[in-house]
Symmetry: C2
Subunit: 246 residues, 2 copies
DNA sequence: CGCTGGATGTCGCAG
DNA sequence: CTGCGACGTCCAGCG
């Protein structure tokens, strides 16, 4: 760490000419800073899919990890983006400030062309802290493992993430009568997709064990939709209501 | 529209005191602008789940549609967020600048507490243009409908989004021998989940028609994983390779 | 790297 | 509003 303010201070430019704007963006990219731009731009993307976006005033963020985000006035998700790991370049082309972001595997390219830059900023984010999150599926699993009777009296968990030919089962165990019983856990209200998932695991286990093996499948979630409930019934599967918290 | 520059120009503050920072944020929120802040903050979230994030230097974006995004130096996704439709408030509390975002249904609350604000900006994004995207599942469907033989010689599409007790089938039709044939389309390489989906539709249709009805199920995608391929085989389902573009 | 499934998924559309 | 499935989903964990 030096005393050079460019090493840790925020730097900004308002209504810059293309040259100074380009210089500041390039400096920010070279020094692993977080760079933001605001101004009139078009956006072109080509990769897994392809898109075009006509001119408008938007907010662009370039992260030190190689991510790029283009935000309009609406929506939680960026209108265009590039994932972490991309290489960003900044150049001046025909009087426009052009940001180009590329990656390989898959080959993807994002080009943001600014006809006018209203603002450029270079920030130095720090990330000492990690997010503490609760209320996840992992919390629901912990709840069940520490108190299996919440699922059913006499239920005994024997393994988690047990492998089957159709994938790994969340919780694998036995009921009070010794029958193989598998749980599919969801942190929130579930639809038909979760039933299909549980059904695949149960069918795979019945094939994998004996032809006559009876395997119980229980969907554990706060609630189910009506269609999911009828699919469960058709497949001879069960449901237990349980939330990740409380 | 007036000549008041606050109505359309970008406004910024560098290293502001809490009072001026709060005023500018409040002005921005009141005038449907896009507001960004950068500085040292903690973040607390309570809603569908709950989270805490200790102090660090982060970038916050408040959108005119009510969305809120908190970005660290890493990741394409914000570390914390609030979806569009939320109500943002800005206040000074115990010398700190506090942004609070709320919504109902579900009841959710996000609190961002700045101990130090390095930068505040108010922008006026415009969104005249809409994104033109190609290479989606809809493009794959159009391709098949305009040239059904891409799936199989003699295939005749009869309906799209046809309803079954298990949900709507992407493409419903008949093969050259008059057998009911349903397609599940995916724009990219697929795994076991798509097989489960197709299987649910085929099983529902076989129940819905006659007990003796034979229904063919074809997964149409660029490629499949090995596990998906074996699940297809076990269920007597088929695969056709096709991409949304080219 | 590819596979797999979770996510405070988000988003758009239909009932 | 809920239900349902697509998404350039993103993302972590594991082989």
């Amino acid at each position: 760490m030096t005393d050079d303010p460019s090493e840790d201070a925020t730097r900004t430019l308002a209504e810059p000419a293309v040259g100074p704007a380009s210089s500041l963006v390039a400096d920010g990219l070279a020094s692993d800073a977080l760079v933001t731009l605001f101004g009139r731009c078009t956006v072109d993307y080509e990769g897994r899919a392809a898109s075009e976006l006509g001119p408008g005033d938007r907010h662009v963020m370039l992260k030190p990890d190689g991510a790029a985000l283009v935000h309009t006035d609406e929506g939680q998700k960026p209108v265009n983006w590039q994932p972490p790991g991309c290489t960003h370049e900044c150049r001046v082309d025909d009087g426009a400030l052009v940001i180009e972001s590329r990656r390989e595997t898959p080959d993807e390219r994002l080009e943001i062309r600014f006809s006018d830059v209203a603002h450029v900023a270079v920030f130095r984010p720090t990330d000492e802290e990690t997010l503490e999150l609760e209320g996840t599926e992992a919390d629901l699993k912990d709840r069940i493992l520490s108190e299996p009777s919440l699922v059913e009296s006499g239920f005994r968990p024997l393994a988690t993430e047990r492998e089957t030919p159709a994938g790994a089962v969340d919780v694998y165990g036995e009921d009070s009568e010794g029958r193989t019983t598998v749980l599919e856990l969801k942190r929130r209200r579930v639809g038909p997709d979760a039933v299909g998932q549980l059904d695949r695991y149960v069918a795979a286990l019945e094939r994998d064990l004996h032809a006559d093996a009876e395997v119980r499948g229980i969907l554990v979630a706060p609630s189910v939709t009506e269609r999911a409930r009828s699919l469960l019934a058709e497949q001879g599967l069960e449901f237990v209501s349980l939330t990740p918290r409380d």
